[in-house]
Symmetry: C2
Subunit: 148 residues, 2 copies
């Protein structure tokens, strides 16, 4: 499982340290969770108590640079990390204003917009879409939106 990521590190001349393995392992165990650096730090400390938060940040920066993880801002004043989709298909994120759940939205539908921009001379390499509102559970309970 983690092997493929180890290979990417090796191929790029990066050392396979226990710390990096541990971070990759946590990311693997928490797929779909959108972890902050601190979340990851707390998880990694369970198996590597001596690790420093700086190593977490340095590892995440490396993994983001190698496009193994995707760094995302949900306007909370900090970043969240998740494994990148290796098919190059970036999903969107829905954030519930009521319960705070983050739900991944696989549908894209941005081709029309991006095609339009390419036609005008732009070159689009990436996008990042957050949708805000009420998730099905909170919507049906009739909770107030409390727009963030």
């Amino acid at each position: 499982m983690t092997d493929s990521y180890c290979q990417i590190l090796n191929r790029n001349q990066y050392k396979l340290t226990p710390q990096r393995k541990a971070v990759l392992h946590v990311l693997e165990q928490t797929r779909g969770r959108h972890m902050t650096a601190e979340d990851i730090y707390n998880e990694v400390k369970k198996t590597n108590p001596g690790i420093g938060i700086a190593t977490i940040y340095r590892t995440l920066e490396l993994l983001a640079r190698l496009e193994i993880v995707h760094k995302n801002s949900f306007d909370e004043g900090k970043y969240r990390y998740e494994f990148s989709e290796n098919d190059g298909h970036f999903h969107h994120h829905f954030l519930c204003s009521s319960c705070g759940v983050i739900i991944e939205v696989e549908e894209d539908y941005l081709n029309i917009l991006e095609g339009e921009l390419e036609r005008r001379g732009f070159h689009i390499t990436d996008h990042n879409l957050q949708l805000y509102g009420l998730c099905p559970d909170c919507h049906q309970e009739g909770n107030a939106p409390g727009k963030r």
Copy 2:
């Protein structure tokens, strides 16, 4: 011009202090610029030298709460502020990886996606889309993408 915003403040029992007027005035003068709190602070100091940065933050927080301004994160580790569109039509933002320019994209095209989600029980109140790539100028000069 600023009067309408003053009315919103009044209506909500907020005092119309010179500091708040000055922040609104700067936002007005810099429409379309996506200012950071510090940018606004520096501008406001020209007319109100004694103002403190805390007042800028408190005012922006208030204006965002009243939905007079929109607080946006472009993944730079800080926020940028701009007047909200009062027609409820949120535009998107394109960020050039080469020259750093931020261009507003008026086209929406998210109705299909949002309609699909509403059909599944979600209730969408807001969205936030950033597009990354090369602006027409940098694209035609053949600059490297340098994906942020």
